[in-house]
Amino acid sequence: MAITRKQKRLAVIGGAFGFLALATTLTFVALGSKASYFYTPADVAEKGVAAGERIRLGGLVATGSIARDGGTDVSFAVTDRIETVTVSYSGILPDLFREEQGVIAEGAFDASGHFVADTVLARHDENYMPREVADSMKARGIWQDGE
């Protein structure tokens, strides 16, 4: 039986839709498992975070909290002026990482409740806070623009 033009077109369109369905499924599975939530230290205290769950922890670097062990490990406290979480990190901190500056630490709590970051982000531009940090601190009435 000869395949008609219509059937051919249907096969192509069907294939394309099948492919799109596959891609959509993949996208949403990935969004469900790979997206990480943003928490401030107060959020962590309120909601709790399971050990091993990847999150972005944001806030200000607490004054006097930066401690180096003389090697490549460093620990510092991230605060939103309500709660504080101590973060440990191994590596080179960004150039604009300093006390009282906005920072985002990506990582997870270990089994003992200690936050271990594998990435620490500070902005390139000294005038701006990371947006999530600024928003959530504004929402809590702690930080205003231009402070």
Binding site: A16, A35, G91, I92
Partner: protein
Amino acid sequence: MIVEIGHFALVLAFALSLVLSVAPLVGARIGDARLMGIAEPASISILALIALSFAALTVAYVQSDFSVANVWENSHSAKPMLYKITGVWGNHEGSMLLWILILAAFAALVAIFGRNLPATLRANVLAVQGMIAAAFLLFVLASSNPFERINPPPIEGQDLNPILQDIGLAIHPPLLYLGYVGFSICFSFAVAALIEGRIDAAWARWVRPWTLAAWAALTGGIAMGSYWAYYELGWGGYWFWDPVENASFLPWLSGTALLHSAIVMEKRSALKIWTVLLAILTFSLSLLGTFLVRSGVLTSVHAFATDPTRGVFILMILIAFIGGSLALFAFRASTLTAGGVFHPISREGGLVLNNLFLTTAAATVLVGTLWPLLVEAVSGEKISVGAPFFNMTFGPLIVPLLLAVPFGPLLAWKRGDLLAVSQRLFAAFGVSLAIALATFFIVDRVSALAAFGIAVAFWLVFGAITDLALKSGVGKVSAPVALRRFIGLPRSVFGTALAHAGLGLTTLGIVAVSALEVERIAVMQPGDAMDVAGYELRFDGIFPFEGPNYTEEQGRFTYSDRSGRERGEIVSAKRFYPARQMPTTEAGIASRGFSQLYVALGDRAPDGGIVVRAWWKPQVLFIWIGCVAMMLGGAISLLDRRLRVGAPAARRATPARPAVEPAE
């Protein structure tokens, strides 16, 4: 005075662009040649006015005129001249002015080189360009005026963000904007075709060169941005799947799809409606990119001087243009006829497959990029979608496409023979497989997945070579004849082969770095040595250095190879810019062939040591060499005489006025 002239020129350009957006459109509608005739001089005058305005701002920067707020905020008298000039677009206002300058330049080019276009089409295209220019000129004048004065003028400027004080700023934004804005021409052509309600293969021939030019520039712009981030940020990464990077990658993906679907339309007059839609989508994604970058609604490591209030304005422009053009598309698309028929296994079929994969990949990246905004709007939760998401989705979607690439150019139009093509590609397949197996068994730490990646990379390169060899008849005719045929091949064939091979080279670099990168981090005292992938890196100490507008602490290193021979010095530094009180990292990089040894400095330890982070990046340069090859491929295709606007068609006799078939 000159600053006011610049400002005034910008206002005049705005007024003129309003005229340009209306008069030719009306002229084309009622068939008035005089009204349509306004388009050409108006486009050229707008370019002249905006160029004057841009020159005025440049003069203000060069003279360090701090009575201009924009110069005061972003410049400093001690800044080197190169950065005074590039600093013109190293800020929000100036970069928008550059955006508009390039937009006006493209419109003027269409006005000058498009004299052989049908009069109404040309008038409509330029009118749409006028509308885009008007919208963005209004945006600049109303919310981002670079010519605002301050009184009294400060004595010294606040300096340019030190991270931007780099040669990258001279190349990356202009190239990127050439790409972004170049797609506006494709958009205008698509909208003009929809306004006229007719479209044919000639349309694709006019649009292709602009698509190619924009695409080549965008490729170069993205590659330059990637290399810049790689050496400037000190993290050793070349791609972060950051929203700002995705913003430039999205139009690249859909632009690549457009480039390929326009071939089908030109050669076979099929896929007309789809091509028009892609042209609209590609520029829409460019606008979206501009919005994401300029508004700062998404947290990005590359965001500079963003301002959410201005974002709303761009968002309105975005909605007006995307909404308007898509509405027009929905309204008019049914009047465009479907084109030629083809078998699924054919060159057309291959290009459809290319489009399917590229647009799906683009959709995935778009969803991942905008998902945080959506989630926050709906639930108020803040989430981040990063590299793990994109690796899981983009990877599986793009690999089948890479595998299919070598087949495309070898398939015949209309109905291809997959078996015959597979036989021809057998050698390329065998060699790629052999190389991958060899690396898998000889080189340590090469996983099966990495070996597969290497096979894909070489498959692309040898596939491209096979294409050239077959088309010049290697093996079938004598060597001199083959050589003569090879030289006589159309430029677009070379362009295709080079771009596809470039894709392979980029893949090779990415796979090699992902699989074989070595990272070391240690606290080093002067005299200490560290082993990085067989290279010995010796720390010689920290030395102070005075730059023109910064101080630097240089960490000097000597490195020796496996045999113990000294190979050279690496200087990695921490800079401090007093004007902004801001430190930056200057990574030290030594190239060995296509691989690099990359050294970044961290903090000083209390006992006088310093944290040193070093990487061995095997074959990393292929990532960008591949991009340059793709860009050159685009440029070579652009030189193809068939594509040259105004060049007579090679075989078919062209009527004096290119025939436009009625759509019905």
